[in-house]
């Protein structure tokens, strides 16, 4: 018997769903074995994980708020990445762009918070973040358009430039560094949530909805329309599919690439503004890896706008739920929770592979002369 891999054409939707569900089930089963091995009841653990620990929780409303706070930057970043990916521009620089956006947000908030009306400051924070992140992405796009450089490498490297800049600013206690709290002896980031913060709307009971959630849903809607209906969205599809064809159709491919990457990076900046503007403080781990996770989400969602919402929601359940569940079980630390998350994502990605390809077993008849 031998096997080889064959590309699949269109798999029916129900089969795809079955594959994904099967992958998650397999991962959970594997996780259950591991949990049993360390003496934890898997059913109780999963119960806690998938309910996000809300059952019997006196402050469940906080859980939803925290969950949504995790979700907002991830959805927006994934949406933004999908724009660039649709054009086959492999923007791996979500982290770097997010950091640049976060820095710009903090600068505006600290310098203008309390000086100008809150609404104005919030808008300026968003704009500053979008411009900062947008330009950071634009650098790579410009180099690609002008010199044909590889965007994957450059965006990846710029991630680290941004990260070390942020780390430097967060750890260097000097008089000019207004990003740190001047009253603290140690390098502590300056908190500005008292001065300016995205408001929450009281909804049901004690649950209040951060306005950013509403913005993200609206942005999702706009992106959907932008990609599906507008001329610019059409241009993105054509350039992504075949740059030669786009050029032939009279599209200015260079400017389209610049425009789309700028937009993509801008939205990542906006995600950073939402994040920083909601927590009211900067830190070296502000991105929470959304730049990386966003790539997985966009890929799993096959760049479909609404699927991105769904996949992000599930990834966040996984992420948040495993932290919550780990708190209740002494044997489970967050490393284990992370590992379980990894197993689930890995198997789902494997399922994703099997929706695109399939393995064929080959029967070999007769005697073997060549031994290949």
């Amino acid at each position: 018997m031998g096997m080889h891999i064959v590309k699949r054409e269109n798999l029916p939707l129900w089969q795809k769903v079955c594959l994904y569900v099967g992958a998650v089930a397999a991962a959970l089963l594997l996780g259950a074995v591991l949990l049993l091995a360390i003496g934890v009841d898997p059913i109780a653990y999963y119960n806690r994980m998938f309910t996000l620990g809300t059952v019997g929780n006196p402050i469940a409303y906080k859980v939803y708020a925290n969950y949504l706070a995790d979700l907002v930057p991830l959805v927006l970043t994934s949406l933004a990445l999908s724009l660039a990916f649709k054009m086959k521009f492999w923007n791996i620089g979500g982290e770097g762009q997010f950091i640049m956006g976060a820095l710009a947000t903090a600068v505006v908030a600290i310098k203008l918070g309390g000086v100008l009306p809150t609404a104005v400051v919030l808008i300026l924070m968003c704009l500053a973040a979008m411009v900062a992140a947008g330009i950071y992405g634009l650098i790579v796009a410009a180099l690609k358009v002008k010199f044909g450089t590889n965007e994957t490498l450059l965006t990846l490297m710029l991630n680290y430039v941004a990260l070390y800049l942020l780390t430097y600013l967060m750890e260097t206690k000097v008089p000019w560094n207004f990003l740190l709290d001047p009253t603290a002896v140690r390098p502590v980031p300056q908190s500005f949530d008292k001065m300016v913060k995205f408001p929450s709307i009281p909804l049901v009971g004690k649950f209040s909805l951060n306005v950013c959630v509403i913005f993200v849903v609206l942005i999702g809607l706009l992106i959907h329309v932008y990609l599906r209906r507008t001329k610019q969205g059409y241009e993105i599809s054509v350039v992504g599919d075949s740059a030669g064809t786009a050029r032939y159709a009279g599209m200015k491919v260079g400017p389209i690439v610049l425009r789309t990457v700028f937009l993509s990076a801008c939205l990542i900046g906006l995600a950073a503004a939402f994040k920083v503007g909601s927590t009211g403080i900067l830190s070296t781990t502000i991105t929470e890896d959304v730049g990386w996770t966003g790539i997985i989400v966009a890929w799993l969602a096959q760049l479909n706008t609404w699927a991105i919402f769904l996949v992000s929601a599930l990834v966040c359940v996984l992420h948040y739920g495993s932290t919550v569940a780990a708190a209740t079980f002494a044997q489970v630390d967050s490393s284990f929770a992370n590992m379980l998350q990894g197993v689930i994502l890995f198997l789902v990605l494997a399922a994703d592979f099997f929706t695109r390809f399939r393995v064929v077993m080959v029967k070999k008849g007769g005697s073997d002369h060549g031994n290949g």
Binding site: P58, N177, F207, V324, A330, S334
Partner: protein
Amino acid sequence: MKKILALVMAMVLVLGLVACGETGAAGSNEEGLSAQTLKVGAIYINSKNDTAGYTFAHHSGITAAMKELGMDTEKQLFIVDEVPEKKDDVLAAVDTLVGNGVNIIFGISFGYIDAMEEAAAEYPNVIFSHGTGYKSNETNFNNYFGRAYQARYLAGIAAGLKSLELGNNNVGYVAAHTTDYAETASGINGFALGVQAANPNAKIYVKNLNNWADEVNEKAYAEELINSYNCGVISQHCDSAQPQIAAQTAGVFGCGYNSDMTPDAPKAHLTAAIWNWNVYYRTAMEAAIKAGTADKFVATMGTSAYYGGLKEGFVDVSPLSENCAENTDKAIKAVKELIISGEWDVFTGVKLEIAADGTVTQKDAALESNGFQHKDGDFKVPMENVEVVAAGGASVEDGVITGTMNYLVAGVEEV
């Protein structure tokens, strides 16, 4: 796809409603807490399954204290670990713990400070206790730390006597940080003063790791202190036993930190400044039970800033090893008594003189810095007044030791 999404959203909201309706007051504290009903929450910087280091020390302290009180660490302890020093992450961890109905939350890392303060205001029915910090309120929020400088002073005596015996006045110190943190500065100073009490001619060389845990450099820096600065005794303020192991390899001696490091370097280790975290955790848990409600916690503790030392047994030195110089035992015992009785403390205008036979005498002498202080990101800003405490003067304030000590005492050199 839209429908699925709408469904998910709707489900989330409905769940939210149900959960919100279930119970009224958040984190409600029933009257009459007991060791059997107290629920403890903890937020750790590293994994709760660590087997060494900072988080391990606290986790051991909390579980030891709970066992002393007859509590069940599986059912009554809730932990969110690997929480970075990031406000929203800490707040989310607090939410998770409060959601589990805990009565008291210990946050062990300094960077949790603002989040702990905010959470204390948000959840007045839960006690917040923050390790190494300096913020607090009048009701349900305190901070705790220990007079590690006292233990280091004792270790310094062992090192000073050893240096006399060796006839080598150079003592090394591998430091996580130096003057940028009062905690590290006071540790270095306490140790240096202890060394000088035994050997007034000693010189203390400090190397700054700029990192709380960095095993590779902990070893390398110790080696450098031994090889380039000819140090005969190596002390440390860092997590691993690497400096002690380096000392043993080079045939010199050392004082460890956090735990008794004699097993790690039996031929080099003298004694270590150690923490008994369970002392505080037990005190805090007992206070929480006694207070009944969270708002009375600070009053029950008597202070919003717990600062235990040798007296409480919160800090100490590990049993002296055979490597110690003669009469070390006697000298340390005498000084310990002076400190526990409250007759004398380290950062005062009175210096101790320890004779070779281990007898201790007191002498008025000014406490002087080495002439520099840490200010505005610059490590070496000249100090206008080198004299910190005049001869015969009282000890510096606790607030200085925990918050603003940004200088090293005379005889210490940062290299």
